[in-house]
């Protein structure tokens, strides 16, 4: 440490000759590498991980512009330009995949996004802390259950002879094989998503509610505002910036639906409404080994996602103080 100060002092003088700027950089670099050598030792496996497992696939994505065969490798395979993209744009699947991806996301934004906000508002109105804790404990729980178990329960309950149909039949409604009906898929996908995520999602809004200035409520009570009015005129505006920011970021993920849940939930009779870009890539790529074509489809999806996120971030910056970067 002592030596570095000795080195640093004369070089930062304004009177130092021009040529010293390169020297300064080199000195600073040497100083940094010496002082932080252990920090860089720690960083090297981390950087290596990101380069290999995140940037490696980005490099590998160039097979989208090639006719890749494993035998020839990434470099050896011949270039085909944008042939793979053209194939996808002219395929009958394009419209179906885009429609399903957009529809599920729009439904989730309309119903799934407000659900935790509403839950947080309702929880905040509870006067009994005991009951509040019970509700929270139970609604957080599904967040920690695996998708396999959640979808497994869903399939079992909604089977033709399952719990839901038994209750419906008892009420005089004819039984439906819900999981086999393409018309029910979006509802079930979004609904089960809300079931699993609403409690956990409410945490952040509860924290945001707790940060609202309590003197506002006192003033409102003096003015004779009811609990509902307080919620409407104080709590809700108080958490609005947070809501807007998260909403915009959610819109930024408009084109992404994971394959994890889709692959568990869909079956050939619901492909029509269930198949999304990622599940299609899995089927045609991992199972069908049509690597270049599906790499192109995946790259197309990544680029659209990225564009949505950039746009969403612009919006977030304009409408609230927060943004991702």
């Amino acid at each position: 440490m002592a030596t570095s100060q000795v080195h640093g002092l004369p070089l930062t003088r304004a009177t130092a000759p021009r040529t010293s700027s390169r020297l300064t950089l080199r000195h600073r670099l040497a100083k940094d590498l010496r002082r932080n050598r252990y920090v860089y030792v720690m960083l090297s496996p981390v950087v290596a991980y990101y380069l290999i497992f995140h940037y490696g696939p980005m490099y590998g994505a160039i097979i989208a512009f090639k006719d890749f065969s494993p035998a020839q490798g990434i470099l050896g395979s011949p270039w085909v330009g944008i042939q793979n993209f053209q194939d996808f744009f002219s395929s009958v699947y394009l419209v179906r995949l885009l429609r399903n991806t957009l529809a599920i996301n729009v439904l989730d934004i309309i119903f799934g996004f407000p659900a935790p906000v509403i839950l947080a508002l309702l929880l905040n109105e509870l006067t009994s802390p005991r009951f509040k804790r019970v509700v929270q404990t139970i609604t957080y729980l599904p967040h920690f259950m695996s998708l396999v178990v959640v979808v497994g329960i869903l399939i079992d309950f909604l089977a033709r002879d399952g719990l839901v149909n038994n209750l419906l039949v008892a009420a005089g409604v004819p039984a439906t094989a819900f999981m086999q009906e393409a018309g029910w898929y979006w509802t079930l996908y979004v609904g089960s998503g809300i079931w699993q995520a609403v409690g956990w999602g409410s945490i952040i809004f509860l924290a945001s509610i707790a940060a609202v200035d309590p003197t506002l409520y006192e003033a409102a009570v003096m003015d004779g505002a009811s609990r509902f009015r307080q919620m409407w005129h104080i709590t809700l505006p108080g958490i609005m910036p947070m809501v807007v920011t998260l909403l915009i970021l959610r819109i930024g993920m408009m084109m992404s639906i994971g394959y994890e849940k889709t692959l568990l939930m869909y079956n050939p009779s619901t492909f029509e409404t269930a198949d999304v870009i990622s599940s299609y890539v899995y089927r045609k790529g991992v199972l069908g080994m049509d690597y270049s074509f599906t790499a192109a489809v995946g790259l197309f999806n990544s680029v659209i996602n990225f564009a949505f996120l950039i746009a969403a971030n612009r919006l977030a910056r304009r409408f609230s103080q927060t943004s991702l970067w």
Partner: protein, 292 residues
């Protein structure tokens, strides 16, 4: 406190709504437990909700616990959770410490390099080809541990926690001759235990619940994690392997209770630790939400 009739109605409605939510969330789980303990023949004959087990039978649990695939899945998942989380936490600590230091010249470019991966990825297929073919991890345990070695959100949680450790403590340790490794393990980590607990739990639950990478990379059944075994039983409804020891007439009936018993057996570890960990998880959800 005086209440207007409107207020009273509002509070009542609120309680009713939240009770309904509790029932909708909690009852399916309760049903699964009741059904798993029921007498198989009575359960199949039943046409309605359950408020308690119908009869009482542990046959399903006996069959589930005797099933070799469940045992293999359990053993493998325990290994993936322990080894995977170990690697996760080790690398995440190193990265979080390094990136929480001040005056590190390459910190910003490395941070940009890392954050960018949150927004853009090469996609499933190039990853699959890289891990499976180029790195030869196809059908090895490495495929489930190494490609997910660092979760960027967890890295940010831990980095944020490390940044809140007072710099003066670090300086004091440095004067005493400590290097960065000593500072990390002796100063920073002991002062960040709650955040560390959160990150360990997120990673461990993630490994416990993961199935997709195993579906893509693992072929050998003796490397299957529990979730993949569960998927066969619950999603593709393949319970034959468990009911072979039972006469065919009973097989269907037992098959039903087996599903529920499997769910319970596979979820129990999380349910058991959940109440103790809830407060940590909540803390983690909030740190993770704080903007970087």
């Amino acid at each position: 406190m005086r209440q207007t009739p409107g207020e009273r109605a509002f509070r009542l409605l609120n309680i009713v709504l939240l009770l309904a939510l509790v029932v909708v969330t909690g009852y399916p789980l309760l049903y699964v437990v009741f059904a798993s303990l029921s007498e198989p023949s009575q359960l199949v004959a039943n046409r309605g909700a359950l408020l308690r087990p119908l009869g009482f039978s542990l046959d399903a649990y006996r069959l589930v616990l005797q099933n070799p695939m469940i045992a293999i899945g359990y053993r493998n998942t325990l290994f993936y959770v322990v080894a995977g989380t170990g690697l996760n936490v080790g690398l995440t600590c190193l990265g979080a410490y390094a990136l929480s230091r001040q005056n590190v010249m390459f910190k910003t470019p490395i941070m940009i390099l890392i954050i960018f991966t949150l927004f853009f990825s090469g996609g499933l297929i190039p990853t699959f080809l890289l891990v499976g073919q180029t790195l030869q991890m196809q059908d090895t345990v490495w495929a489930l541990i190494v490609p997910t070695a660092i979760n960027t959100w967890n890295l940010i949680i831990l980095k944020t926690a490390f940044e809140s450790v007072p710099v003066s403590l670090e300086e004091a340790a440095r004067i005493d001759g400590a290097n960065d490794f000593t500072i990390l393990f002796r100063v920073v980590l002991p002062l960040s235990l709650p955040a560390l607990a959160v990150v360990i739990l997120f990673y461990a639950v993630g490994h416990w619940n993961a199935y997709f990478n195993a579906l893509v990379y693992i072929r050998s059944r003796d490397l299957y994690p529990l979730q993949l075994v569960l998927r066969e039983i619950l999603i593709t409804s393949n319970v034959e392997s468990m009911t072979t020891s039972v006469s065919s007439g009973d097989a269907f009936q037992v098959g039903q209770t087996i599903k529920y018993a499997t769910i319970v057996v596979a979820t129990l570890p999380i349910l058991v630790i959940y109440p103790f960990l809830q407060k940590y998880f909540v803390k983690g959800a909030l740190i993770g939400a704080v903007k970087e």
